[in-house]
């Protein structure tokens, strides 16, 4: 259950998989994303509500054939240039996209976690998203006759999330902004969780989400593994790193140099402060 990150990625992720590395600004599984780049995985369908710089990196590294998402940007900074380059110039490989709203993506995960084939919501009506995405349809309420949007369940082959802690059995505990992580894990066929630390006992914390070990396939210890995003109670968001990415991501050469450095580096966690 608890294995090194490189081993966990090797066991759970395969070329061509649909994979969600979720995290809503908080607890983004960056170390796992970097390990996927290092292992040279290809043709992945990457899923995430808010693809940010680690998805920019995966796309720039040529790991992805498709992106399913609702907002792709560098939060508070600007655009994702590798994402832009892939969409507009197919560099380094073409990137197919499937685009939703946050409400649509969130409900797709809820349906996936619930064993339902689709979800209904009030959304999309009148937008150009509808005509560009065959996965946005409608259903009619059998009681009121109202028409509502329908989206298909999302059931990734693999979901990866980062959490603060796990116990030795592999039960996982996360808190703070917990976003869509529970649903993404429950919707997946396989789940990998990187954690700041493994502890003997998961002392209850207000606002916690517990992922029982029976829905988690592998836990890997990756202290600082969410940096430059943050881990509530462990370290803060490195806003400077997000700003600094803009210049790297903007330029193919600068990005390639960054990529070579990443691949050359051993599989170790990102540096980050502890216990903030």
């Amino acid at each position: 259950m608890i294995v090194p990150l490189d081993e966990a990625v090797r066991e759970l992720v395969h070329d061509g998989d649909t994979i969600a590395l979720e995290g809503f600004t908080h607890l983004i599984p960056v170390a796992a994303g970097h390990e996927i780049i290092r292992q040279g995985l290809r043709d992945l369908t990457l899923v995430r509500m808010t693809p940010d710089i680690v998805y920019d990196q995966l796309i720039g590294a040529g790991c992805a054939g498709k992106l399913v998402f609702s907002w792709g940007g560098n939060p508070g900074v600007g655009s994702l240039h590798r994402f832009r380059d892939a969409v507009t110039s197919s560099w380094p490989v073409p990137l197919e996209i499937e685009e939703h709203s946050h409400a649509g993506m969130a409900n797709r995960y809820v349906a996936g976690a619930s064993g339902l084939p689709f979800a209904i919501l009030r959304g999309y009506s009148g937008t150009d998203l509808v005509e560009n995405n065959p996965n946005i349809r409608t259903v009619t309420c059998p009681f009121t006759g109202q028409e509502l949007a329908a989206v298909p369940a999302l059931n990734p082959d693999v979901t990866v999330v980062h959490a603060q802690r796990a116990d030795r059995d592999g039960n996982v505990q996360l808190w703070g902004i917990t976003g869509i992580q529970k649903e993404a894990v429950l919707a997946a066929d396989r789940a990998l969780v990187t954690v700041e630390e493994v502890v003997d006992t998961l002392d209850p914390v207000p606002g916690q989400v517990i992922l029982p070990e029976r829905v988690v396939d592998r836990v890997s210890v990756a202290p600082g593994g969410a940096a430059p995003s943050y881990a509530h109670g462990y370290y803060e968001r490195d806003n400077e790193a997000y700003r600094a990415w803009d210049a790297v991501g903007r330029d193919r050469e600068a990005f390639t140099a960054w990529l070579e450095e990443l691949i050359a580096a051993p599989t170790t966690p990102e540096p980050a402060g502890r216990g903030l």
Partner: protein
């Protein structure tokens, strides 16, 4: 006598902040909208109830978050809920008074584009995409858009309708089943645009001090109508500017 000076971004932020009333609930987009909402909360609307789409309800951050989900938002919230819950139980249920949104492009009917410039299949510029905006624009009781004025941004017809404003005119929101009133004001660095009650087309209803209506028309990509009783934004107060600058680090 004090001479107050300010930047065009500052008066935009102050004007947007003033549009919020105390105790309103506000679904806050990141960037300019977030700055304005936080200014309101620190000035005339201390009971403003801010929601960010990361699930932080009733948050009172001590400094401006860079992202929609900074730790400070969770630390200071009444409660933090999951992302499905914030969209389904709070936004979709129609509990939110006002959505505070930014945009890359807006058109004469206040439709919003944050997806692509150019053709969707072969875009000139790929933008971040929809995020929470389509449903914020649909479900909040009303929407305020905050963005800088330019001919590139204020266009006759958006390249892509990410979030519906007033569609193509009267009756469209009702026909589409959108329950909120939609964008009731667009606040820019030059002035304020509001939909005409009959045609739903955006009309210039206010300018900031020192801004000529023609300059606004010049920065707008359609033949912008100007209200007969054009208002002039009251100057920012020292107190307002001091809060804006304490939040943004400006001076």
């Amino acid at each position: 006598m004090t001479t107050v000076t300010w930047t065009s971004d500052e008066i935009m932020t102050v004007t947007a902040a003033r549009s919020l009333r105390d105790r309103m609930s506000c679904f806050v987009g990141i960037g300019l909208p977030s700055t304005a909402a936080n200014v309101a909360r620190r000035t005339h609307a201390p009971g403003l109830w801010m929601i960010y789409e990361s699930g932080t309800l009733g948050t009172v951050p001590g400094h401006l978050p860079l992202s929609i989900g900074d730790g400070i938002l969770a630390d200071t919230a009444d409660t933090v809920v999951s992302v499905p819950e914030v969209f389904n139980y709070w936004l979709q249920a129609g509990r939110i008074d006002v959505g505070f949104l930014g945009a890359a492009q807006i058109d004469r009917y206040a439709n919003i584009n944050t997806t692509v410039i150019g053709d969707y299949a072969d875009p000139e510029v790929r933008l971040p995409g929809a995020g929470g905006a389509p449903e914020i624009a649909a479900s909040c009781r009303e929407v305020t858009v905050i963005m800088r004025h330019s001919r590139r941004a204020f266009v006759d017809r958006v390249d892509f309708v990410t979030s519906v404003g007033h569609g193509s005119g009267p009756g469209d929101r009702e026909r589409l089943g959108l329950r909120g009133a939609g964008p009731m004001r667009v606040i820019t660095d030059l002035g304020v645009l509001e939909p005409d009650p009959l045609t739903r087309e955006l009309v210039l209803t206010g300018v900031h001090p020192g801004v000529e209506p023609d300059a606004v028309r010049e920065a707008t990509g359609w033949d912008l109508a100007v209200a007969g009783d054009l208002a002039v934004t009251p100057e920012p107060t020292d107190a307002e500017l001091s809060v804006v600058r304490s939040l943004t680090g400006g001076s």
